[in-house]
Amino acid sequence: MSRPLVPTGPLLNISRRDTLRALGGGLVVAFSLPGLASALEPVDPTVDLGVATPDGAPAHLNAWIRIAPNGVVTLRMPAAEMGQGVYTSLPMLLAEALDCDWAMVRAESAPAHPDYARPLGFLGLESQLTGGSWSVRGYWTPLLEAGAAARAMLVAEAAEQWGVDPAACTTVAGEVCHGDKRATYGSLAAGAAGRKPPRKVSLPDPAAYTLLGTSPPRLDLPPKVDGTAVFGVDVKVEGMVHGTVVPCPHYGGKVGKVDDTGARGMPGVLDVLVFPGEVVVLAEHFWQAKKAADAVKIEWDPGEGKGLDDTAVEAALVAAIAKGGSRIQREGKAVATADSTMLEATYDAPYLEHATMEPLSATARVTADRVDVWTGTQAQQMLRTLAARLAGVPADQVFVHTTLLGGGFGRRSELDAPRVALQAAMAIDRPVKLIWTREATFARGALRPAARCQFRATLGGGTIQRLEVTLAAQNILARFAPGFIANGKMGAMVAVEGLAEGPYHFPSIEVKYAAVDLPITVGWWRSVHGSFNGFFRECFLDECAHALGRDPIELRRELLRDNPRHRAVLDLAVDKAGVVPAGMSRGVALFESFGSIVAEVADVTVSDGAVRVHRVVAAVDCGRVVHPDTVRAQVMGGATMGLSTALYERITMKDGAAQERNFHTYPLLGPADAPSVDVHIVPSTEPPGGIGEPGLPPLPGAVCNAVFAATGKRVRRLPIGEQLV
């Protein structure tokens, strides 16, 4: 049974921390961190990972850290674990600064609470949100500080007990030491928790990190291997009913006439709820609800979606480019020489579905004074706000229980699944668990936008003298930020990510963004615009190299002359890839996103129009690395997902409805086609970059460039599909 969320100390205000260089190389920070003085009671953490078991009552050092008498340290995870490894990398940050024994660490999901917010990285806002490859970057300083503050409190407690100067004490793996005196954190925790948090702490010296930069086994893998891991679909709540959702598949449409007479009489069926955008069928068991849902006769009103098909989408993109768009970047003057020629090409990318392996799911329980939601969400804080609004209770009576996510990729930053569960629970006054079918999940996609990109290059003097780029796509930010932000430079900068102000030096460049207004819901999809901008730019660059008669790698190296980090990444990937294996063709691409630079080399064969990627060699510079094995896993995963988009993935529209509803019409890359992916990390002491997304953008370009090397055919429209047959 969970206890209420009670802050037992005053919450400190968020303020700018002033940072001072300390003696001895460590960093001393003066701060007021939210959550440092608070000790929120646990709220049924849905995820609780680790091998050591706490005994007795733990002491709360701050909102992040509890220490049990036997020394087991439980760390609360503000972000969502969706495969990217944050339930290992974030604990490592805390444990490094706390200086505890890694074997004694547990990680559990934090509740949704402002204590756990982090800067969003843009807009100047803070939120408890998992996205933008931002968890390690956003929580880096707060977690090091929280760990260091707790350590200082433990040291102060020991020093007082011993009557010695705290500055003369040291810590080692969960113990405070002074001369021959030693005390375990477990024995000090209760006393330390009663102390005031320090106003200044010293952060560990990066040169002396013992945990950061190593790859301990991930904390979340044992339950993922023995089947005990709890995802949204696995939640069990006393007294819950099961249900499924039939969403209106037409973007901009709604539910029309509903005939549920047949469904209501079916075994186990409890209710059929009709909402404006979806029908919910509730039953004693999921399968009964699913069968009854199939028996409900629903007429959809396609609304704004009427007549919106692929031709209409393409026409909208073409028209937007023709109108010209708004200028994002203009530098240098066109300097044509006598030998200058123009090269023009237009590229296209389709709508994409996230296709997380776990379909949408959420469980909700609403009582007069308390709301609980269990779901795998990337947007805990927004969910808390939504639930409070729907149920009409203050936010502190809302309890968000974040489960593990069976893939997120941005899809679970949408609130539709928990919203419907909350509404259903309120409608029937019982806890409700909803699992969406794969078809329903596809029907309500928050899609990667379709996009079109027009390039015009002036080539001469053996190089690219001027580059003009116009990108047309729907504006994702429009759904999340006020119009003046979304439609201003911010919205445009998000869209043209990687195309403007990129690492390549062009004497003259002009980049424009042409916003497209369509009623199709577009959302954050792994690597967002990088997922097509990487393809567009890296393939057109290859076209330029070919037209100039230059080696594409050499041309890139020349254009990267001002950016040694990028050049080093490219060189490492090319070097590690070695000579092109006999019979294969090679393509290369490079893309920076989310603060990390990735180059990928793809070795392919093409036979009878079928592309087979045999091997991908990647190099990544993501700044300082927390957990190298996770970096390798994420770049491998991103590249593999990128290959899936390059070869197969495409959502098509009819009357504003996605036509693909399961994996037979929306095939995902399977094991038969999956290449080996070797990932090499550039050692770096630069600030950390993100790693969940940056592995994806270079891959489609690398593959299509390899296809050109193999066949002389330029792929300018994804997916490759049957184009080469």
Partner: protein
Amino acid sequence: MLELVVNGTPHAIDVAPDTPLLWVVRDHLGLTGTKFACGMGLCGACTMIVGGSALRTCVLPASAAVGQAVTTIEGLPAHPVKDAWIAEQVPQCGYCQPGQIMATVAFLETNPNPTEQDIREGVTNLCRCGTYDRIRKAILRAAQARAAASASKVEP
């Protein structure tokens, strides 16, 4: 009443016999380690071992499992495949992995010494996180561990 033996335990379950085995095991027996992802037999997330074969149970009527031993991820004892999955740090989101593991356990029973190509053709479950490269390494590792274990058994 449907009589099923799941992970060695007999159960009598009051459920429509055409209910897919997946949902009987998840909702009626409360064993949620086996996952639902597509419901059409396309991905393998719902793989259990039924009568010795890896089957996609989202499209398998529970009645078809009557009289056969059903093993789910929860019923898999300490096993070289699970060890290999940890050693290679395979899972990311982890959602497909119970199915991957069950498919691999059955695959190695029929092909204890697979080549990489055998693995590509023999374990066909989907993984959206893109863990295939590590899955292949883990399968090879598990095969070696099984071989080493049976070799040490025959030697005195």
